[in-house]
Amino acid sequence: MTQLEVKNLKKYFMTPAGSLHAVDDVSFTVEKGKTLGVVGESGCGKSTLGRAILALNEATGGQVLFEGTDVTHPRGSVRKKMKREMQIIFQDPYSSLDSRMSVQELIAEPLNITGIVKGRENVRRRVLELMDTVGLASRYRLSYPHELDGGRRQRIGIARALAVEPKFIVCDEPVSALDVSIQAQILNLMADLQKERGLTYIFITHNLSVVKHISDDILVMYCGCLAEKCECDDLFEHPLHPYTKGLLSAIPIPNLHYKRERTLLEGEIVSPVNPAPGCRFATRCPHACDKCRAEQPAGREVMPGHFVACHRAEEINGL
């Protein structure tokens, strides 16, 4: 069942230098209970995409449908319902928590705002339940965020998101600020919660091995646009977009016997402010032709379930 449908979503920011196209015409769907991984380099619009879906930054154009309801510009009762069903876990556990609130107050805040649990004693009990769910010992109940390490702080962020029993969570780089051993603990916790509660995730990250581990489908973004979207294994085995190929070959792999061809991408990401017509990747693409520089490619279903935004996808992959 399709739970979330995003149609031609656009988010532009007006800056002194011009219009910044953070998300430009992105469309995709997410199935219930699945995880869509969103990958891309810093500044490619991954986080803005997540925030636009939740209407934290309202979209400039396009549509977001959640279980058939339009939540692009939610108002009134739709907004209230949406805020309970769709949640977010923020990237930085160091700045996303109010440093003057204790763990108990932080986790109780969403319960009190939505009013789903009433009575002081019930709230207290629910907070302890949530702390148990995310693996925080109850003795940290009265601690403040600065007294806890990054892993525990991120667990508070997860407990806050889970407090209102959402169906859908945008996870915006939830493990990027953590060390690998702690990162693995949090990833296991998130996988367990998904299995238990049938949650749907959009998992935003720049770490490709993390995204491979956790996702069912992957969306690769480049400079605000969709580059490629397909099933997770398909992406790693048969990447079709030249950017995806470069990205995959750039990841250092901790295995001395893993041999692969290296395609080093030259140059850097172009500015998303008043972008020139044509494919955003053309400046770095080894296959760019005149058409690429003149006309922006749209996402096409090149193989069943495999979407690529590249004029020459068939040609360069011998399809």
Partner: protein, 333 residues
């Protein structure tokens, strides 16, 4: 830092790996004598560079060695550069401080360095904020290499960069290093980077080296439980795993280290001896060292299955009390 011994041979790259707070950067600063004392204090030990002890070298002489003989690439290119000087001036300054040359010669050399790191000479008069992160890091590299050092200490040179830019920068460091035969101490937390650019590696935990050897020793004949735990924590790109096998708990507080092995509270193999007694370095094969009581006694390479199940429900245990670790949940629930 506690009893760290390392050696880098000429022309070789050593990868120093560890998590945040393991003491990697402190090691690097210690080599160059850049630790602020107080609060820092060099308690014991020596830093031998070409047989000469840098700890006994007077500060005047050290200034000549830093930059010219041993230079450092800092982690964060956004803060390592002076925002009110053009990048050209900054590189030329390093050259003029260490080499006996005129301003014009320094400028010429500065331009050659910029071109080596593929920055057009025309941008020498730009300020750091006009460059992207990857370009800034290349400026820092140009500065570090400008006096042809014999040893480069690179402290997480690519951590702040995106993967495609990281690949470019690592490629460039590798190429320049090969051209000039420079040795390098590469500090990183990314085992993938070590696999790709180092010949030797040392794993650091709580201020100590726990395992060191060639990259083959570390990657294919992993001996220390912490190193194994690190490998098990990384999601793999070439295998599909249902669950990760994280190391339980957290690194101990450096002001309150455990009495025995520093890793014992988190270690699946820890026994009474580990809790009581600090292990020494054991040489498992020539050049492959491991700081573990169980090393070389046929400890299995991976955690056995029942241990894995136990770890699966681990939600971050306190490290202060090893006895609680068996319970699978934090104390005080």
């Amino acid at each position: 830092m506690n009893g760290v011994s390392l050696s880098v041979e000429e022309g070789e790259t050593l990868g120093l790996v560890g998590e945040t707070g393991a003491g990697k950067t402190t090691t690097a600063l210690g080599v160059l004598g850049l630790i602020q004392c107080p609060p820092g204090e060099y308690v014991r030990g020596e830093v031998l560079y070409k047989g000469k002890d840098l700890r006994k070298t007077p500060e005047r002489e050290m200034r000549q060695i830093r930059g010219a003989e041993i230079s450092m690439i800092f982690q964060d290119p956004m803060t390592a550069l002076n925002p009110v000087m053009t990048v050209g001036e900054q590189i030329a300054e390093a050259i003029r401080l260490h080499e006996d040359c005129t301003a014009a010669e320094a400028e010429k050399k500065m331009i050659a360095m910029l071109e080596k790191v593929r920055i057009p000479a025309g941008r020498a008069d730009d300020y750091p904020h006009q460059f992207s992160g990857g370009m800034k890091q290349r400026v820092v590299i140009a500065m570090a290499l400008s006096c042809n050092p014999n040893l480069i200490i690179a402290d997480e040179p690519t951590t702040a960069l995106d993967v495609t830019i990281q690949a470019q920068v690592l490629d460039m460091i590798g190429r320049l290093r090969k051209e000039s035969g420079t040795s390098m101490l590469l500090i990183t937390h990314d085992l993938g980077v070590v696999a790709e650019s180092c010949q030797k590696a040392a794993i650091m935990y709580a201020g100590q080296i726990v395992e060191s050897g060639t990259v083959e020793d570390i990657f294919d004949r992993t001996a220390h439980p912490y190193t194994q735990g690190l490998f098990n924590s990384i999601p793999s790109l070439d295998k599909k795993l249902e669950r990760l096998r994280p190391i339980r708990g957290q690194m101990p507080d450096p002001t309150r280290l455990p009495a025995g092995c520093e890793f014992a509270p988190r270690c699946p193999y820890a026994d009474e001896q580990c809790v009581k007694e600090k292990p020494g370095m054991v040489e498992l094969s020539p050049g492959h060292f491991c700081r573990c009581h169980h090393a070389g006694k046929g400890a299995p390479l991976y955690f056995p299955d029942e241990r894995v199940n136990e770890l699966a429900y681990d939600h971050g245990l306190p490290v202060s009390n090893p006895g609680n670790n068996i319970l699978g949940k934090e104390a005080g629930q």
